[in-house]
Each structure stands twice: as structure tokens, then as C-alpha cells.
């Protein structure tokens, strides 16, 4: 199995001198194609920073990041943006959608930005997979939180990216809605071979993944294959976090 994302000795330091914070320290890891990976760790452990560096949203202080075989270091902002546009999809915790655009327009936004046309069949499939058939004309304000996250997922999928990143995509949802969204992600990984990397605080959410990476103090301290919520919760307790 090939790695879609590969980090080698990636460090990220915020600030300078006395007040410098090392958010990532020499992190090396590979994300296999077609896998569903969860990233966990105590608050402030560097999960978001890890995600940003892996996705080319932020530039590491040192080390190398390869996304789908392309080395990211040395790329300028426009080149990085174009690369993200083709190879990466995002789902954020909240504020995922442009309020002025309809659901359909939000979903096709990356295509529009790239100046390409939506592939009708694929768009239909994405919309029906996330269960938004018949709501494509609505505005974000007319949707529930869970539905908004589904729109964000559809948008992340529409460009057929190499990998979809989520930073606590279910963090703002109630348990039942969160389950639906996680099941959806799982189905996408299984059904289309999509790679998904997701930061989460929730051991139950992590149990939907194929593997869990544990971060603490900017380092990957452990990983776990075939996680269950009990095992993850126990591991997190040992890391000194309350969940």
C-alpha cells in the first residue's frame, strides 16, 4: 500500500525567542492510501498543527511533507493553493459554508475556483451519498448542523481528492448526528477508496477509523490499529487527558 501523505522529521515552531512554542517536534509518519486515520491527543498537543502541515495549509518550520508524491516545501502560496484544490478536501468543525451560496454552489465551489465544470454523474453520486438530494437549492442557514457538515463533506469529495482532512468534523454535533456523519465517512472510505484523516477528541469517533495516531506534546507517541472506543479511551487516559 502506498502512502498518500508522508511527513519526514516535520517540526513547527510558533513565535520566536523566549515565547517560542514547539507545536510539532520531528514528526515522521505516512498515511496509507484508502485508509481512515484518526488523530487524537490532549488539547494543545499539536493535532491541528499536524493536520495543517500535512494538508499544505501551513508551512512547517523544518522537515519535508509529500502529498501524493509532490514535495510541498518551497512552493509558493498560489502553487500550494492549486495543489490543495486538486488533491485535498477539507471538513472543518464549523463555519464550513459560504452563507451567500446555495448547497449546490457550495459543493461545486472548488471546481468553480479551479475553473472546471462539475462532472454531473459524480456530483449526483456525491449528493446522494451524503443524503442531500432535494436540498441542493437551499442556503446554509436553512440547514441543520449535521446537514451543513454533510454539505462540507460533499464539497470535500467533489474534486476526487487524494485525501480528505477533517478537524473535529463532528465536534459541534450531537451524538446521533455525529454517528450519521461518521458512518458516512466510513462508507466513503469503504465505497470509493477515499483516504480520510480526521482529528477528534471522541474515542467513539476514533473507533470508526482503521488506525489511530496519538499525539502528545508535539510528538507521535503511539498508534493503534483496529481501534475500539474502550481501548482508545483507556489509551487517552494514560496520556493524561480527560475525554
Amino acid at each position: 500500500m502506498t502512502d498518500v501523505v508522508r511527513l519526514d522529521a516535520v517540526s513547527k515552531v510558533y513565535g520566536k525567542g523566549q515565547g517560542a512554542v514547539a507545536a510539532l517536534r520531528e514528526v515522521s509518519v505516512g498515511i496509507p492510501r484508502g485508509s481512515f486515520t484518526a488523530v487524537m491527543g490532549p488539547s494543545g498537543s499539536g493535532k491541528s498543527t499536524f493536520l495543517h502541515c500535512a494538508a499544505g495549509l501551513d508551512v512547517p518550520s523544518s522537515g519535508s511533507v509529500r502529498l501524493g508524491g509532490t514535495e510541498l516545501s518551497g512552493m509558493n502560496e498560489t502553487a500550494l493553493t492549486e495543489l490543495r484544490r486538486q488533491r485535498v478536501g477539507f471538513v472543518f468543525q464549523a463555519f464550513n459554508l459560504i452563507p451567500a451560496l446555495t448547497v449546490a454552489e457550495n459543493i461545486t465551489l472548488p471546481l468553480r475556483l479551479a475553473g472546471t465544470r462539475a462532472d454531473g454523474a459524480w456530483l449526483d453520486e456525491v449528493v446522494s451519498r451524503v443524503g442531500l438530494r432535494g436540498r441542493t437549492g437551499h442556503r446554509p442557514a436553512q440547514l441543520s448542523g449535521g446537514q451543513q457538515q454533510r454539505v462540507a463533506i460533499a464539497r470535500a469529495l467533489v474534486t476526487r481528492p487524494e485525501v480528505v482532512f477533517g478537524d473535529e468534523p463532528t465536534g459541534a454535533l450531537d451524538t446521533m448526528t455525529a454517528r450519521d456523519v461518521l458512518t458516512l465517512l466510513r462508507e466513503i472510505v469503504d465505497g470509493t477508496g477515499q483516504t480520510v484523516v480526521m482529528v477528534t477528541h471522541d474515542p467513539v469517533a476514533a473507533s470508526y477509523a482503521d488506525a489511530v495516531l496519538f499525539l502528545a506534546d508535539g510528538r507521535i507517541v503511539d498508534s493503534m490499529a483496529a481501534p475500539t472506543s474502550e481501548k482508545v479511551a483507556e489509551r487517552m487516559t494514560r496520556l493524561g487527558a480527560w475525554v
Binding site: 491541528s48 495549509l57 498560489t78 490543495r84 477539507f90 472543518f92 463555519f95 451567500a100 475556483l113 464539497r155
Partner: protein, 816 residues
């Protein structure tokens, strides 16, 4: 990206309302100014009095100078003169002999007053120029006869007492004309009496030529002949220009006023729009970050913002241009009412000003979006992921450098301004200086705001909960505070500068005039020549000085001048002579103010060549330099010389008679006003009111910008306010908090605006009056500050009421 821009505008109307209103106002102002400017450049007046003559020949009313630009290229510049230029009767003879000319009609013009009302006097021979015909009676033939206009309401046989340049006389009405010219009154006398009253033997003010023949060759010949006569022929609408010299002056004024006002409003607009669009980018930070994360390149974000700006600018420009046309007509009516523009100077209406306004608005909007896009593209995509938005760097290096450069420009302009001593040169530089300083403050705003927030933190906390919150908000929200401070300080600075440059000159001139007037009484206006002589003979009268005002040109530059009689001058006027002697000011002598002497580089004993008001050249000896130039004019000439070269030789006289009362003097010169000089109101600069009207628009514009920004800034905080309400802040406390924040912004802005105005005014005062202390009436200043404070508080309170009136839970849930 354009369609995305359009969607965003439709969705977030409120965020664009600010920029829209600012641009709309700018477009309206630019369009109105464009109309004034175009009228100044191309406007024409139709002839009335000269309507009946195909060709009118008059003296050349322009001071002309040929400037050689390079070896072979020369350019002739012409500036209008203050008085009518007369031509010798011999020119009429020459024209009469031209082949094809069947008739020439000469005209003399002089001022008359009936019960203080001004009339234009002519000889009946010039009636054919209009032509005037009689509806009743007969033409005036004898010396004591007069024909009146239809509108005068007189019948043949009536007697009218008339004040003429040669004294008071009662005339018998022998005829009434069928015509009546609007806007002025005319009296016709017998040709001989008219020539006597005009007081210029052998000269005529105009020659009408019938029928239309080309007289230019004859005029060239006349100019080339010994003692050459410079004359011009006018046909068509040019005759109106000759007939209404005021219109010509008004046109020149319209050009400079339109240019200055339009330029200033455009600069203010750019400043305001940059401010509002920066504010809207600030408020849309998260949305822009999201777009960046979803894969919009920095270029695409810039394009989207540019598209929004172009759309808003285009719509605002169109609506604004339409409003501006109305504004142009309103301005014209104000100017006509204030006498700054003759009613028959028609406003030129063409699509150019509207197009110019549209283009300027779109360009301003686009430029502003370019500037705020610099900040927008720096927004990092990761900000979309986080819960809180990261505050941007306080002051990016580029902005810091630009701010410092502007401050440097401000220093340079201030220095330049302090060396300018003419109103024409100083006025535009004054505005520019204040603006450049404001731009510098705007650029360095966040830094200023941070410092200010730290300074006021301690006193604010005295207000317990709301004060504490306000202090915290101000510290964290330095950029927001800065964005409010900019328009507020702009308003304070512009208003103070506009109002107090006027008061500074007025006050200095008034003080100089008061200090320099030694005589106890002033006679006039419209004092006939005999009256001064009669007064001199009155026992108890020590000295009488007759005074006339005119303006002359040295080269092309205009100087205010007074003509005074030399005898006993020291007992009526003290001009503050610093070199030479003033008494016995002869017809070949001139006294020059110190500032003018410096500018012209003349000294006592030197010579000064100038063009008198009617175009007559004069070469005079400088006999004195004095320092009270503001109060009395830059040049002082002999009364006799000036009287021969002005349209209206009826002036005023200063009387020094310590032993006599006002009533004693009034008995000696019946029908003439007598006033004590101490109480006599000093006549301010002629077009002060016009400036107030024009600049009032700029002030109104900045006020709109203030309201705009504050309303925008307050309504954008609905989420934050709702959150405060949910955690237990009462409405009162929230309102207090907002009020305190605005008060701090006002305090900072007033301090900054006052500082800018003071620096500008001090430089202006140094150049114009020689004193470093500008005159700022305390009440006027308090009114400016009070108005600014009230406006700002109202602009905060009203949107706050709306925002706080909503249910907090609902507002918190709403998307940003």
C-alpha cells in the same frame, strides 16, 4: 469570481452599504463639481444690453503675458482685469470708415445711485445697442433730462434725485423705454451729460458696429499705430462676456472652486472607502479564510474583492452622478443667491461630469479594494479551521513605511504652506496639508489606537463592569478602534481647518484694519467727489482721506489695492510704515505691503510696473513699505490715479475730527452714511460664504463617513453583544460599554484632528498673517467638537439599540 462577488453583495448588503454610501456621496460631489468646472470652462452668458449689435468692440480686459516655453514655443497667458477697459473715440472713427460698415454706436458707462440703489448710466446714443426704444415721452436731450426703464415705475414729468460721480443732481424724466433688462437698472442721459459724468473725455466704454463685418484687421492696425489701442471685437455669445465681466470672474472662480472641491472630495472619498472596505474585510475574515482553504488562490480572492468593489462602485457612481446633477443645480442656486455667480451664467449640462464622476468612483472603489485586498490575501487559510480568528500583525511594514512617508509629506507641505502668503496659493495647499496629515494618521492608526487604548485603560476601569469591558475591547480591538478614529479625526481636522482658516485671515485683517484706522469716522458708501472737499472745509475737521478699492495686476498676479488721498494721511490711517515715507503719495508713487514687497522683490526707491484695473499700464516709484497689508491691501496708490481707472469712482472717506460728533458730520454731507470707525463692521473676504457652502459639503461628506463607519462597526458586533447579554450583561451595561468605547474614539479623534488642524492652521497663519497664532473662536471650536461627539454617539446608539433589541440566543446562533 465576479458572480461570487455579486452573490456576496446581495447576501451581505449591510457590509457593502457603508462603501456604497461613501462612494455615492463622492460621485455626487465629483459630478456637481464637474458641472461647476465645466461651466467655468465652457459656460457662456447671452448678451442682453448688446443683443442688438452684431459686433461690439471694447478695450482688452485682460492682462496678458507671453511666456517662452522653449526657443520657438511661446504661450500667451491672459488673466481678467477688475475694471472696464475704455478705448478712444478715434477708434470708432476708424471703424466707421471701414468698407461695409453702415453705422457705429458709441457707449459710455458710469455708476449712478438713486436712494442708495446702484444704476448703470449711459448716454441715450447707445440705446441702439440693445436696442432700447421709447414707449412714452421723448429721448433726453438737455443736460437735466433722463430716460428710465419700463420697470422703474416712473412717468414722464417725474423728478428723480440721482447721485452721480460728479455730485448729486435732480433729473427730469422725459422718456420711458419699452424694454426692461432683468437683474439691473439702467438710466439714460443726454449724450453730452453722459460724457461729462463718465469723466473720461475722448474715451468710450464700447463701440457697436453695424452690420456684422470682420473688424479684426482694423483693430490690428489700431494696435500697431502710435499710442496703440488694444481692443477686441466680440460677436455672438462673446458679447455676453464683454457685457458681464462679473460672469468672467465668476467663471474663473468656478474653475478653481470646482477643481479644489472635486479634488478634495475625491481624496476624502478614497480615504473613507479604503476605511470602510478594510472594515468589511475585517468582518469577513473568516469567510475569506474559508475561501482560501477551499482553494481560492490569493489572486482569486483579490479578484473577488475587486469585482465586488467594481460592482458597488459602478452602481454608486450611477446613482451618485444622478444625485450630483441635482446637487450641481442646487450649488448654482446657492452661489447665485450669494452673488458669487451671475444669474445669467447658464450651467453647462453635459454628460461629461457624470461620466467623470462614474469613472472616478469606480477607480476609487477599485483602488480601495486593492489596498484592503493586501490585508485580505494575508489572511491565512488555517484561520477558517480555528474557533477564534487570529489577530493580524498590528502594523505591516509596508503600511508603517507608507505612514511615515505620508507624515514626511505632511511636514514638507506644512513648511511650504508656512511660506505662502497669497490666499490663492495657500487655500488648496491648506486642504492638502490637512488631508496628507490625516492619511498619515490613518495609516499609522492601529499604532495610535493601541497607544491610546493603553492610556485610557486606567480611567475607564473606574466605570466598573462596562468600563472594564470597554477597556478590554479597545485593547484587543485596536484595528477596529483605528477604523473609527480615522473618519472622526478626518472630520474634526477638515472642519477645523476649513472654518478656522477663514477666521484666522478675517481676524488678522480686522485687527490690522482696526489698529491702522486712526480716523474716528467713515463716510460712505458712494461718496460723491464734492463731499470730501466740503468736509475738509468744515471747522473742526483735521483731515479727510478718500479711499477707493480696486485690484491691479503685476505681471499676471493679482493684488488688492487701495487709492488714498495723500493730504493728512498720517492723521487718518496708520499703515504701519516700516521703510520710506507715505505722506504726499503722488500719482507716480506706490506704497507696498511688506509681504508683497518680498514677493515682488522691490525696495523703497525702486520702480514697480503694474497694470491698473482698466488695463492701463503704470510705472510707479515705490515710496514706502508697510506691514498692515492684510487690513488695507497689498498696494496703496494715489486716489487720483485710481479714480481715473475704476468703473465706480464713488468710494468712502475717513474723517479725523476729534471735536465733532457723528451728527455734526452727517449734517455737512446730507444723503451720505456716516459711521464711527470703531463700530464699523469690517467687510470680510468677498467669497467667504461661497467657501463655506462648498466646504460645508466636504464636512457633510466626512460626517456621513463617520456615521457610516460607526454603524457598520456596531452592527457587526451583534454576536459579541448577544454573548455578553447571555452571560448576564444588562442592556444598559452593554450600551454603556459601547458608549464608553465611542467616547474614547471621540477623545482620541478630537485630539488627533485638533492636532492636525493646529499644525495646518499655524503654518497657514505664519504664511498669511506673519503671526504663528491662528484665530480659533472658542465657541466655534466647542461647537465642532460637540457636534462630532453627538454624531458619533448617535451613530453608535441607534444600531446598538437595534442589535440589542434582538433576542440574544437568536443572535448568537446566527452566522457571522
Amino acid at each position: 469570481m465576479i458572480s461570487l462577488a455579486m452573490r456576496t453583495i446581495r447576501h451581505r448588503g449591510a457590509a457593502f452599504a457603508g462603501a456604497f454610501v461613501a462612494l455615492l456621496c463622492a460621485a455626487a460631489l465629483v459630478c456637481a463639481c464637474g458641472m461647476l468646472l465645466e461651466t467655468g470652462l465652457r459656460g457662456s452668458v447671452a448678451p442682453e444690453r448688446y443683443a442688438g449689435t452684431p459686433v461690439v468692440v471694447t478695450g482688452d480686459r485682460f492682462a496678458r503675458e507671453t511666456i517662452s516655453k522653449s526657443a520657438e514655443k511661446t504661450k500667451t497667458k491672459a488673466k481678467p482685469l477688475a475694471e472696464r477697459a475704455w478705448v478712444p473715440v478715434s477708434l470708432a472713427e476708424r471703424l466707421r470708415r471701414l468698407p461695409g460698415v453702415s453705422r457705429v454706436v458709441t457707449e459710455v458707462t458710469f455708476p449712478l445711485y438713486v436712494a442708495g440703489r446702484p444704476f448703470e448710466g449711459h448716454g441715450w446714443e447707445s440705446a441702439a445697442l440693445t436696442p432700447f426704444t421709447l414707449s412714452a415721452g421723448r429721448a433726453p436731450r438737455a443736460d437735466g433730462e433722463v430716460a428710465v426703464e419700463a420697470g422703474a415705475g416712473l412717468r414722464p414729468g417725474a423728478r428723480v434725485p440721482v447721485r452721480t460721480p460728479a455730485g448729486d443732481r435732480t433729473y427730469l424724466v422725459t422718456g420711458v423705454t419699452a424694454q426692461d433688462l432683468p437683474g439691473r437698472e439702467t438710466l439714460f442721459l443726454s449724450p453730452a451729460e453722459a460724457r461729462r459724468l463718465a469723466g473720461r473725455p475722448g474715451m468710450v466704454s464700447a463701440v457697436g458696429v453695424f452690420p456684422a463685418v470682420d473688424v479684426s484687421a482694423a483693430l490690428r492696425e489700431a494696435a500697431a499705430a502710435p499710442g496703440g489701442v488694444r481692443a477686441l471685437a466680440a460677436t455672438g455669445d462673446e458679447r455676453g462676456v464683454v457685457e458681464f465681466p462679473d460672469a468672467e470672474q465668476a467663471r474663473v472662480r468656478l474653475i478653481s472652486l470646482g477643481g479644489a472641491l472635486g479634488g478634495t472630495s475625491l481624496l476624502v472619498a478614497i480615504l473613507v472607502v479604503v476605511g470602510t472596505s478594510a472594515l468589511s474585510v475585517q468582518q469577513r475574515q473568516r469567510e475569506i479564510a474559508l475561501l482560501r482553504a477551499v482553494a481560492a488562490t490569493p489572486g482569486q480572492v483579490r479578484k473577488m474583492l475587486g469585482g465586488e468593489a467594481l460592482l458597488v462602485g459602478a452602481v454608486a457612481g450611477l446613482v451618485g452622478a444622478a444625485v450630483g446633477i441635482g446637487l450641481g443645480f442646487w450649488l448654482r442656486s446657492r452661489f447665485v443667491a450669494l452673488g458669487a455667480m451671475p444669474p445669467n451664467l447658464r450651467l453647462v449640462v453635459s454628460p461629461f461630469p457624470a461620466f467623470a464622476a462614474l469613472a472616478a468612483t469606480v477607480a476609487a472603489a477599485w483602488a480601495a479594494s486593492r489596498l484592503s485586498a493586501r490585508r485580505a490575501v494575508r489572511i491565512r487559510p488555517v484561520e477558517a479551521l480555528g474557533e477564534v480568528t487570529l489577530p493580524a500583525a498590528l502594523l505591516p511594514t509596508g503600511r508603517l513605511v507608507a505612514g511615515l512617508l505620508c507624515a514626511g509629506g505632511g511636514v514638507a507641505l506644512t513648511l511650504v504652506l508656512s511660506s505662502l502668503s497669497t490666499e490663492a496659493a495657500a487655500s488648496p495647499v491648506t486642504m492638502l496639508t490637512a488631508l496628507v496629515w490625516t492619511v498619515a494618521v490613518a495609516l499609522l492608526g492601529p499604532l495610535v489606537a493601541r497607544v491610546a487604548a493603553t492610556l485610557v485603560g486606567a480611567p475607564l476601569r473606574a466605570f466598573r463592569a462596562s468600563g472594564h469591558l470597554a477597556a478590554a475591547n479597545l485593547r484587543a480591538g485596536a484595528p477596529r478602534l483605528a477604523s473609527i478614529i480615522t473618519p472622526l479625526s478626518l472630520m474634526v481636522a477638515m472642519t477645523c481647518t476649513i472654518l478656522f482658516t477663514q477666521t484666522t485671515v478675517e481676524d488678522a485683517a480686522r485687527r490690522e484694519a482696526a489698529a491702522g484706522t486712526v480716523a474716528g469716522h467713515v463716510l460712505g458708501p458712494h461718496l460723491p467727489s464734492g463731499a470730501a472737499a466740503a468736509m475738509r472745509g468744515l471747522p473742526g475737521v483735521e483731515a479727510v482721506t478718500e479711499v477707493l478699492h480696486t485690484s491691479v495686476r503685476v505681471g499676471l498676479e493679482k493684488y488688492g489695492a487701495q487709492g488714498v488721498t495723500g493730504e493728512g494721511l498720517g492723521r487718518t490711517l496708520d499703515l504701519g510704515v516700516v521703510a520710506g515715507r507715505l505722506d504726499g503719495l503722488g500719482e507716480d508713487a506706490v506704497a507696498v505691503s511688506r509681504t508683497a514687497a518680498e514677493r515682488l522683490g522691490v525696495r523703497v526707491g525702486g520702480r514697480l510696473r503694474l497694470t491698473l484695473g482698466d488695463g492701463t499700464p503704470a510705472d510707479l516709484r515705490v515710496t514706502a513699505i508697510y506691514h498692515r497689508g492684510l487690513g488695507f491691501g497689498d498696494l496703496t496708490l494715489s486716489h487720483a490715479l485710481v479714480a481715473r481707472h475704476v468703473d465706480d469712482p464713488l468710494g468712502t472717506a475717513l474723517v479725523s475730527a476729534p471735536s465733532l460728533t457723528r451728527a455734526d458730520l452727517a449734517r455737512a454731507v446730507p444723503g451720505t452714511g456716516v459711521a464711527e470707525t470703531a463700530g464699523a463692521a469690517w467687510a470680510g473676504p468677498a467669497n467667504a460664504e461661497v467657501n463655506y457652502v462648498a466646504m460645508g459639503l466636504i464636512i457633510a461628506f466626512t460626517a456621513i463617513a463617520v456615521v457610516n463607519t460607526l454603524a457598520m462597526s456596531t452592527s457587526a458586533r451583534s454576536r459579541e453583544l448577544a454573548l455578553l447579554r447571555l452571560v448576564g450583561t444588562t442592556r444598559r451595561q452593554a450600551r454603556r460599554m459601547l458608549g464608553l468605547e465611542t467616547l474614547v474614539a471621540i477623545a482620541v479623534a478630537v485630539a488627533l484632528g485638533t492636532g492636525i488642524a493646529l499644525v495646518t492652521l499655524t503654518a497657514f497663519s505664519t504664511g498669511m498673517t506673519g503671526s504663528t497664532a491662528p484665530y480659533v473662536p472658542p465657541l466655534g471650536y466647542l461647537a465642532v467638537v460637540g457636534a462630532a461627539a453627538l454624531l458619533a454617539l448617535a451613530a453608535t446608539a441607534l444600531p446598538a439599540r437595534v442589535v440589542l433589541g434582538r433576542h440574544p440566543a437568536e443572535a448568537v446562533g446566527a452566522r457571522e
